[in-house]
Amino acid sequence: MSVDKTAKAGSNGNGNGSVLKSRWENMPKQFRWAGMIALVIFLYLLPFKEFYLYLGIPMGDFYLPFYTARTEMAQVLFDTAVFVLLAVGLNVVVGFAGLLDLGYYGFFAIGAYTVALLTSPESRLDVTWPWLAAVPVAVIVTLIGGVILGGPTLRLRGDYLAIVTLGFAEMIRLYAARNEGILQGQRGIPSIPHPPGEVNGDAIFGVTDARPYYWLALTIIILVVFGVRNLARSRVGRAWVAIREDEDAAQIMGVPTFLYKLAAFAIGAAVGGLSGALFAGNRGFINSDSFLLENSILVLAAVVLGGAGNIGGAIVGAAITWYLPEWLRGVGSSLGLEFDPAEYRIAVFGLVLIVMMIFRPQGIIASKRRAAEFEDRRKEAVASE
């Protein structure tokens, strides 16, 4: 009797989102592929202004729905894509393996600095590699960075790990700010080359048009998502779920927990490094101010908001977190308002997160598994009161 009750409570806990989701999952495979392709085409079309003219909301020429007014749309999309890529990487660490990593942004900084040092003619390394050659090196350096940081810290659990990783990210930023030698302190490293490629003698990746950067970032996201998704469905992915749900139990089932945690940490770090490399190639200049602590927290907030453990959730969470304030910034000014909503971003997300934790801790788009885990934790909390 009581068993049936709890079973029902568990399935109800998923809410409406899972109804839509299971309906989607039950559709024929070809249909789902077609849906995904349509979505991808839609995403590639996003930076075209013409696209917004046909959305059918007549508001005149000066304002287009969803089109950012204050910052160039394509640049906002690129920044959003970089942020989304970070979230996809962090989701491997926080969502899949359940490791609370507050210093993820440190790897983004390592990736960006590696590219800057190897490519810029102003860098003291003085090797001036092309951007493309520096990217794989940046990924490998951050991967190793992940192993070096993870080696000693992954023996810690929960809150301890969070604090150590938080310290790590701040250390990287402060070192970059104070180091007048190779990292060139606040002056930073300028003249980082852009990605390669020419059409009719004009560089594809220039300074006036941000669209190619967005398309490049989007393509990389798609590739990374495929890789990460396959990983999550493999033996490694199942080990991560076991570790996340009960680390002791995972160990006595024969899962080498430390190694798998380290793998999650390193893979996440590498994706963060890739994201940093993209960022450096777009900006052409970096200094320590490019890597603020609040961004470190913001990525985590985005992943949790979207639904940790679910790739789609992490993507949606990150896209909302970055794009929405940028868009609202323009809406405010076109309505003649003085204030800038983007300034209140951190405060608003703090509030949103608190509300989410109370009413929907599994995030906007959550996996069934995650919902069941939270339900179980809630029951335990009630029982021990």
């Binding site: 009581s2 568990g10 779920v241 160990q251 089932m253 069934k368 598994r369």
Partner: protein
Amino acid sequence: MLLEIKDLTLEYGRIEALHGISLEVEQGEIVALIGANGAGKTTTMRAISGLRPVAKGSIVFDGQDITKLRADKRVILGVGQSPEGRGVFPGMSVMENLEIGAYTRRDKAGIAEDLERCFALFPRLLERRKQAGGTLSGGEQQMLAVGRALMTRPKLLLLDEPSMGLAPMLIQQIFEIITEINSQGTTVLVVEQNAQQALSRAHRAYVLETGSIVKSGTGQELLNDPSVKDAYLGVA
């Protein structure tokens, strides 16, 4: 000798939780470890499965010194555990929980065979195979924890408080199944607060008091021992 523990000492920080205990488990036996709350029963279990590091002493399993071996490697050697509090993976279905039990194994035929055996022992798990582990009742979770440990195909099955939180009828049933598992050839070391059930099912037993073994003997001997009766069986 399947398991031989010698002078095992274990510390939590500076506090010694086990003061040099020794115990043995022979191939094919059911051995019970009884004692009050905080006597060190679970700590002993966690030391054997490798979840707690050992300060002094040795653990020899199947002729091999495993004192310093990582927990996941002990599973491959044949140490299977159903932990205290069951440790069922709440977000995984019953089936996925059982499959994770076979994580270290590659023999598909053997895994299928063990899965069948598991469902034969616990038909309830077959009924609930698609349900999430976290939504099962306490008794079902206990069955799942034991079943999952069996999926590692252990030579030695460690059961930590299999009766905890269960109704008397279910306790009876769980112990019948433990006897059945043992008669199919698996050696069992069971930790229990329910001394009556444990002693009547065990071939041999040890009594643990505040980190030391104070008595040992056959299950029957200890059942009839006046001091054991007094302290653990609730008979004056």
